[in-house]
């Protein structure tokens, strides 16, 4: 009986241990190592056959050199800062686009809602990579967007959108909008329509009722959506690589270059660890918001 319970509880812990904690430990270890012309390209490596002395020697060779290095080259902190800026702005844009969509869905006739929900989720059925490549086709100089705008006569010369930050924002907003829409929709859908009628009855116009009732009551959905967009957007790598230009500084891109172009695994791992530390703050805040939401529902 007790064993059964222990077993059931241990399953998620074992899962986390194998797929999260151990890999994290390995990355942490690499970040404390030195580069080497070897396979794998860092030193020291743990040699358990050597016994206690070799383990002691292994630990003595670890140091924080790589973290110190991150502060010497301003590329890194600039990338972190630029990532934060892009993630913030993209989250805000997602909110601007996502809230009206969620609002529209929640106010649509009942029989329409499953279809609208499907339309929001449908893009996930195609590979993320293919969808980002499709945006390259849309945004490039001879792309669909430019052709369309020229055909409309809005512009004479094709616009340069691809390989700029604008393309990165478009890519992030497009990709992560469903993560914004769904939590907001789920709070708006639960909103009791008679609350808005009560607001109007007590003297609100439709607009004030929206700001005083709808928005505060969908706050938890808005917060959840913002974190769900902000957290992955901060470490985003594919979108800035494919849609961004050489001027687009994002930490995900730097990380990739350190690993694969420079083959500097220790520095790359240090970059990843710092990124994780930065992300812990919003993740903790997100969890707290979720908890509040659960409590409010009880």
């Amino acid at each position: 009986m007790n064993f059964r319970r222990f077993f059931l509880i241990s399953v998620p812990y074992v899962w986390l241990l194998i797929l999260f904690l151990i890999p994290f430990g390995i990355v942490l270890k690499i970040s404390l190592s030195d580069t080497a012309l070897a396979i794998p390209p860092y030193t020291p490596t743990l040699d358990l056959a050597g016994g206690w002395t070799s383990i002691k020697e292994f630990f003595s060779q670890l140091d924080f050199e790589n973290f110190a290095f991150l502060t010497t080259d301003d590329l890194y902190w600039k990338s972190y800062l630029s990532s934060l800026k892009i993630a913030f702005l993209a989250t805000f844009l997602c909110l601007l686009v996502g809230f009206p969509i969620a609002y529209g869905m929640a106010n649509a006739p009942d029989e329409w809602r499953p279809t609208l929900m499907m339309l929001v989720i449908l893009p996930f059925w195609t590979s993320f990579l293919i969808r980002v490549y499709a945006w390259m086709g849309i945004l490039s100089q001879e792309g669909l967007l430019n052709q369309f705008l020229i055909w409309l006569g809005v512009i004479g010369e094709p616009l340069t959108i691809l390989n700029t930050n604008v393309a990165v924002y478009i890519g992030i907003v497009y990709t992560y909008c469903p993560f914004m829409i769904l939590p907001i929709y789920s709070t708006l859908e639960k909103l009791d329509g008679s609350l808005l009628e009560a607001g109007e009855d007590l003297g609100c116009s439709r607009t004030t009722a929206f700001w005083l009732i709808t928005v505060p009551l969908s706050k938890s959905g808005i917060i959840a959506g913002c974190f769900l967009v902000f957290i992955p957007a901060l470490g985003e790598f594919v979108i800035p690589t494919l849609l961004g230009g050489s001027g687009t500084l994002m930490i995900g891109k730097v990380l990739f270059e350190e690993f694969f172009s420079n083959r500097d695994w220790p520095v790359a791992s240090a970059v990843a660890i710092v990124l994780l530390l930065i992300l812990i703050i919003p993740i903790v805040l997100y969890q707290r918001n979720e908890q509040k939401m659960m409590e409010a529902e009880q």
Partner: protein, 379 residues
């Protein structure tokens, strides 16, 4: 100026000089092909406690929502205080509503909920404070002002909703099944509280309910509705004593219905031949035509006397056999089977101890009633 004579009873609807606060003129409301309200004409006066009563789907809520401004009539005119309400949105009406679900704002405290409407009017802060305090005192919730709606009980929530809807001192308060979510005991207490508050504030109340007891208790007048039409608009007493149709008689309280052919006597009363070989019943028929017709005789169980001995009177006396007895503590209902199989219920107050009751199952008994106890209704 001629002051109308102050009468002890409040009956503005009988005074032709009185102008109504609310007036529906041939109002029809259609949702697609469904007619929710069919050609309703109705006047409601100041300080009335007016009840809209009917089964669910009869249109009573739609009628009320039109007063609040949440629905617009398809045809006809609604005026409040003489003004046509056609294009006036809910937030511009001196009307407030207490919602069935209470619709308290869950993100605001009790105090903020009550102050919500006052703030929208840009009232000075000190005045808002004062008014909120006054309202919280009225509903006895001073100690709960800082709680959120989910932290108080159902009865308290109901009172917050009432305080919130009264805070702006509306000309008219609409109550949509206000006591539906409360248990029976609390509901009865709250009914008296509502009447108290209505009297204190002098506000006109319109209440929607499907509970006839509630309507009888609180209302100055009741409108009984069915299928979007007003069937009868009268005081509780008259609705009960003198229903104008079988529907109303059956909907309000308990009633015995006996069908028969009428033969008017010419003195306002009519004879009703209800069974072969039985003497006709005699009753008044204020609502039915004064001709021979197929009609229904309606009489309340408590107006039927039941006895073992044949009573002295010759009119409205029938013999039967006790089929069933329902003992309800304060009263007993006897179900008596007449010779032709009709069941008639007779109710007596149990002013004697149960052991001394002399009627029991299968006893032969006599039922009797006076000529004015029942009423003959058109079918």
């Amino acid at each position: 100026m001629n002051q109308p004579a102050v009468s002890s009873t409040f009956e503005p609807w009988t005074d032709p000089q009185e102008t109504p606060l609310i007036s529906f003129k041939s109002v029809t409301k259609k949702f697609g092909t469904f007619t929710a309200i069919n050609d309703v004409t109705l006047d409601i006066y100041r300080q009335e406690f007016f009840a809209l009563l009917g089964p669910s789907g009869c249109g009573k809520t739609t009628l009320m929502r039109m007063l609040g401004g949440f629905e617009t009539p398809t045809e006809g005119v609604i005026t409040i205080d003489g003004k046509d309400m056609a294009n006036i949105p809910p937030n511009k009406r001196a009307v407030n509503m207490m919602f069935q679900s209470y619709a308290l704002f869950p993100h605001l405290t009790v105090r903020e909920n009550v102050a919500f409407g006052l703030k929208r009017d840009n009232m000075p802060k000190a005045q808002i404070e004062e008014r909120v305090e006054e309202m919280l005192n009225l509903v006895q919730l001073q100690n709960f002002s800082q709680r959120k709606p989910h932290q108080i009980s159902g009865g308290q929530r109901q009172r917050v909703a009432l305080a919130r809807s009264l805070a702006k001192a509306p000309k008219l308060l609409l109550l949509d099944e206000p006591l539906g979510a409360l248990d029976k005991k609390l509901r009865q207490d709250t009914q008296f509280e509502l009447m108290d508050i209505q009297e204190k504030t002098g506000t006109t109340f319109v209440i929607v309910t499907h509970d006839q007891e509630e309507a009888m208790t609180v209302a100055s007048r009741i409108a009984v509705m069915d299928h979007g039409e007003l069937i009868q608009v009268e005081t509780p007493g008259r609705i009960y004593e003198s229903p104008n149709s079988v529907y109303v008689a059956d909907f309000i309280g308990d009633v015995n219905l006996i069908e028969g052919n009428t033969k008017p006597r010419g003195d306002g009363k009519t004879e009703l031949f209800w069974a072969e070989g039985q003497a006709p019943l005699v009753a008044e028929c204020p609502h039915a035509p004064d001709v021979e017709a197929r009609c229904t005789f309606a009489i309340r169980p408590e107006k039927v006397n039941i006895s073992k001995e044949r009573p002295d009177t010759q009119i409205n006396v029938v013999q039967g056999k006790i089929h069933d007895i329902a003992y309800l503590g304060n009263i007993s209902t006897y179900k008596v089977e007449l010779p032709n199989g009709t069941m008639v219920k007779a109710q007596t107050a149990n002013n004697r101890r149960l052991a001394r009751r002399d009627l029991t199952w299968d006893d032969d008994v006599w039922l009797s009633w006076t000529e004015t106890a029942g009423i003959v209704l058109d079918q």
